[in-house]
Symmetry: D2
Subunit: 441 residues, 4 copies
Amino acid sequence: MSATTTPDADLRQSLVAWRRDFHRFAEPGWTEFRTSAAIISVLRGLGWRTVYGPELHGASGRLGVPGPEVLAAARERAIAQGADAELVAAMGEGFTGVLGVLETGRPGPTVCFRFDIDSNDLIESAAPDHRPAAQGFASVNAGAMHGCGHDGHAAMGLGLARLLTGLRDELNGSVKIIFQPAEEGLRGAHSLVAAGWLDDVDVFAATHLVADGRPGHVVTGADTYLASTKFDVEFAGVGAHAGGDPEKGRNALLAAAQAVLGLHAIPRHSAGASRINVGTLTAGEGRNVVPRAAHLRAETRGQDSAINDFMFARAQEVVAGAAAMYGVEHSLTVVGRADREDPSPELLPFAAACFQDLPGVTVISERPDGPSGSEDATAMMRRVKERGGLATYVHIGMATEWGHHTERFDVDEDALAIGVEAAARMALGAPEFLASLPERS
Amino acid sequence: MSATTTPDADLRQSLVAWRRDFHRFAEPGWTEFRTSAAIISVLRGLGWRTVYGPELHGASGRLGVPGPEVLAAARERAIAQGADAELVAAMGEGFTGVLGVLETGRPGPTVCFRFDIDSNDLIESAAPDHRPAAQGFASVNAGAMHGCGHDGHAAMGLGLARLLTGLRDELNGSVKIIFQPAEEGLRGAHSLVAAGWLDDVDVFAATHLVADGRPGHVVTGADTYLASTKFDVEFAGVGAHAGGDPEKGRNALLAAAQAVLGLHAIPRHSAGASRINVGTLTAGEGRNVVPRAAHLRAETRGQDSAINDFMFARAQEVVAGAAAMYGVEHSLTVVGRADREDPSPELLPFAAACFQDLPGVTVISERPDGPSGSEDATAMMRRVKERGGLATYVHIGMATEWGHHTERFDVDEDALAIGVEAAARMALGAPEFLASLPERS
Amino acid sequence: MSATTTPDADLRQSLVAWRRDFHRFAEPGWTEFRTSAAIISVLRGLGWRTVYGPELHGASGRLGVPGPEVLAAARERAIAQGADAELVAAMGEGFTGVLGVLETGRPGPTVCFRFDIDSNDLIESAAPDHRPAAQGFASVNAGAMHGCGHDGHAAMGLGLARLLTGLRDELNGSVKIIFQPAEEGLRGAHSLVAAGWLDDVDVFAATHLVADGRPGHVVTGADTYLASTKFDVEFAGVGAHAGGDPEKGRNALLAAAQAVLGLHAIPRHSAGASRINVGTLTAGEGRNVVPRAAHLRAETRGQDSAINDFMFARAQEVVAGAAAMYGVEHSLTVVGRADREDPSPELLPFAAACFQDLPGVTVISERPDGPSGSEDATAMMRRVKERGGLATYVHIGMATEWGHHTERFDVDEDALAIGVEAAARMALGAPEFLASLPERS
Amino acid sequence: MSATTTPDADLRQSLVAWRRDFHRFAEPGWTEFRTSAAIISVLRGLGWRTVYGPELHGASGRLGVPGPEVLAAARERAIAQGADAELVAAMGEGFTGVLGVLETGRPGPTVCFRFDIDSNDLIESAAPDHRPAAQGFASVNAGAMHGCGHDGHAAMGLGLARLLTGLRDELNGSVKIIFQPAEEGLRGAHSLVAAGWLDDVDVFAATHLVADGRPGHVVTGADTYLASTKFDVEFAGVGAHAGGDPEKGRNALLAAAQAVLGLHAIPRHSAGASRINVGTLTAGEGRNVVPRAAHLRAETRGQDSAINDFMFARAQEVVAGAAAMYGVEHSLTVVGRADREDPSPELLPFAAACFQDLPGVTVISERPDGPSGSEDATAMMRRVKERGGLATYVHIGMATEWGHHTERFDVDEDALAIGVEAAARMALGAPEFLASLPERS
């Protein structure tokens, strides 16, 4: 592979600058208006084709999109924070995210990289030894913070685009870089897949920075993500004065309490790990009123999709039965989901070779050694594999003290260049690698 | 009224003898084969017409009848304990109880008295200071004991029949004495009412001995019985090995546990007292098996029938919803019920007059001063009132230490003659009393 | 009684103006800074002694006071809405409410009237046929609205003060008018009582406007208020990632759900009505986090204080047990309470006489005919009676369509003058009335 | 190995005869009086030393022993079914089971085999195509049935003893055969271990017949048994009349219902599989009585002992908290337990060699491929390993249609000789095998 894949000092500076800019103006899922607009601007400047707005997601099918007031406020804020107003308008009702495409015009495979770009619902620490606070790039958007490294992912995506632009003459086929919105809550991948953008992909890699305290530890085939379904439940009963005529009420809180217990009583599955969580419950209008409404935010998980399907099917029964117990109405809405999908084993040695001998890389493993959360990039992996392509999910370890989804999470910025260079190598080497596979020769 | 209503020494002895015989051979609801056969024999000896078997109840409509094995064993036992085998056969599948009718042939009202005859599910005390044990008439039927005085009631009914037979020439119209089965559990009255035996009744009185420690304290219009519904619930799920494949189970115990909590969470009613109880729960097959079956015995009550209806309607929702939560089947069977029915106010002075100056009577009140259980005689009262008759429910206090439904309950046998004489007065005086009422004149 | 007790046109206009001013600037319990300051100004202008701030309540003992930020914001708002800044500062950390005292210097009884002044947590209707909205005096304070008529009560208190000032020479003894804060939630009366302001009261009356659609229907001895305890519960567990390591969590939401069911399963009480309500439950931090915290707002009630005490004692057990089930910490804080207290029967004829023949009065009853909520004025009544005085609670019916605690509640302003005149008659007539009582002569 | 290890026709007949005899007189855990007496007789006849009664278990420390009436009835039945009365008396209060010892007098290792002998709580099928029924050896003991093959295990133990007696001159060291009582419920192994009988064992093997439909499929190192704790819970409250004074009750059923839900809500463990089951719940005395007592039979399991310990520790909290919620007493008794213990890896090739080429053996695997229940032989394995010995757990597949713990379970009697011969080979070959191990040479 060509030594020219190494990011130079200028690109390294840009990676940090982009990451800090995204960090400062953190935007939660489906409100990444400013982030997306900034990405579009850079890609356009590099001459890439950009896909965004309803074209990217299709008109329907997105999961867990916030309500119109939230979107309107986010658009307004994005513009106030420097986003191009026309681009923001084009993303309208939360059609955020960007697909950048580089077409060489030469025959060859389509290689696709996925970076997610949304922030978390966290209040960032103001502690003086929290670097973003100390150096002035802590989030200025209240309640939003990049606590999972997606600011770094977005920067890596831009860095990769710039690097590949310079390597254009050495590339064959096409490169796609997906800047995915709304990974948190497992919401953003599905509509992108449904819109067909993965259908022609031959090699796919998603990359995630991992705060494991092991800088340079690379995992080429992360396979421990749990299948998961995220869902909201509304119980709607009838209020009544709790002292005057309690019998007239239909108590939504009691239905919710029974449901919470019933959800946790869904049996363990003998085929593998399962999970259930009711993360939040908000119910009732006042101390002396029989609660009319209750709202749950919950999730199931499974070591594979069948186990998660079992959990979610039982969960739906539990919720419906609990509502019936109390004569209250209910609605259950899926707001996110992820399947379990294994990396393509034949892709892993190639991925390892792309990380081999890169500065800062210390260990390269095939599989992670701990439990994981869930990831909707699996939907992309599944689609690529269904269509005959190869897909994997890569972890890059970081020298970081605080864990993901904490108020003190920070990105080890040295890891950014590693991810960029390995991806560039993958794009460059994919034609030869694919040609070497027996079934593809 | 005639002084000849006073029971003589012979009748007093018979009252005690009958009562102790019934006590010794206690029979629970719908299995009073020996008790009923004995009653029929006495009534026949007095020349009364007797109605029993399916004619008494109609072919269907009885509530809470035990299963065929229980009935077969009870029939066999009754015969072994001296019951007439033909009569037992005639009562077949639990068509117990007797209606005795005395028709004078002279015009006049129909006066009806109700005495219940079934025993309780109690293990009678063997304590040496428990009179039935000390004097050899404790129950010989394991798990069955007259713990509510129905042995005394049955004896009073027979005493009344014998007394009225002697007074036959002074009576007008007809007298009916109902020896009702299965009052415990509120099961026995409804089919008797449905069969029409109360339709022609002009004056109705039910009598109950009360262990209130106030001998001779008479209440002429007991009106505090709660409306109630008794019901059984079966949950039927799917068993599974709790270690090997718990996900294959459908857990009936969990459904039952949720139902129990949901039943107790039915709201209080602002219009008056309500009650809920799940008295027993039996579930599961073995420690390491996901429970396949669960069985509840429960009841609702209400200060009036509307409140009880509210409770029972909500209870049905709770049970159905809990079953749905766990994907188990369920069935809910009403095995007993009672409405709330007020005594006819115009009857109370006449009832008081019948008790006036009787030996042993100390105080005569219109209403009781404490809370009560429930009573299915209210179904008879309601029917009588619907048809234009007058009805009431009488309490006779007893000098008794142990409460109803305890293993040491005993009847104050001095109270028996009081009840008999007052009832005889009522039968004799009814024509004149009715004639004195403005609306009936 | 003197005809001079009749409010003139000027006073009638003031009653309406005061009421509408209080309505427009509605302030919830313990934040009635502007309302209290306005009351103090009027009373000072009339020459009454005023007691307020910590002197009124004592330094400790107030129940359910909001946190310092809420109070600071309320103070700021009150000043912005015209309140005297010095008075607001004197009320500092929520020591709101006012006691006005008129001392005649002549011997005689102390007569005390109580009017409550706080608003409800409601969003007032903007419907064009809602008079406050149509006529421009709807609440300008978001989420606060006078939905229980305390704006009218406060106005009546001021009207009474002005009327009695004019009748000063005909009065004997002293008059106290208590403008009580924080009646909603049963919070404001107890510290006032503890501070001793009721200790010398001979005749006490609280007055409440009632939206029963029966204008001029007066109840002189409202006795159906339920005893009640209002309490908050916090469960504090340990968060954990619901996918990654759920076993590390201590689930506060599950503890809360079990507690909610356990609270509703507290048994009915055979001695009378009981109530339980968990009005609100808020739990959890995020969908994929084991809930670390849960917060309940709940209440018990009882037909008498013993029943409420039973309910609350059981509730404390339930909450502690539920916390122990899940290994979470808990705290339970009483934020309001009311006992049941009966009006003094000997006071009722006098109260009736004070309303007799007043313009607009249609019916005078001794007792209300429906169920009620709860009232902390009972604490004042209890104290007065304990010290040998007489106390009652008066209802004045109103021609109003919408019920209490609804967004469309409105005061029938014609009722204000009725309350004022009857109270003035009570103050004037109290010496003679008390002298007429046998035990006081 | 010597061909003389092959069971001859006579021994094969005896294996079947013994198994069918044990099957016919099935005895549940701690009541295996007849079974144990029969085993002692055979062993004595072969000249083996036998250990039984309190010497075998120590005076205390047995788990889950039935009450004295159950034991007395079982002793009486055993004698009636032919057991030696003196031996039965020696086993007294359920000290069942036998240890047979063959000491060669020559130096060499101690090799120990464990066979369990207790039956299950099942009603055996009477279907004509159920072989035990068709051929007249179905269980004659109501409610007891060999539904897990322990009848076959006991027969194998006796067959092994007879075979080894014949091979006595070729053996070195000692052989122990443990006929363990009460494996069902994980009760019988612990006291035997505590009494020291495993302390000198160098090679240990437990053998289990498995109804997997794969005759001759041998697993040499079954390692999927879950750690487990079996426990009973009693809740003791206060009864009360559910209509008359429910507030006087302390509801044990409600405590149990909450506990059941709380137990099932114990979180999943990220380190591996966990299980919880409440297999049975029995509560309450009568429909109209507030339940005074409730009894649960429950179990936890874990993929390793730490996970099971986590489950059981949480379960204890849940039960204690639920009792506290309702002010009822509770007690929790451990009636069985098993740890997870892995087979010694160095023993597996030797075990495989012992099965190699045996008639009927089809496949030899190291590990099972499905989930399992739990086993208290792990306590023996643990002790042997702690003392420096090697231990394993062997499965022998059977051509059987019906699963374990079903009413139609039957033993594939062809498997018996396989187990016997492999064990004999193990006893004969152990000295050489042990000498071959590097660390033991």
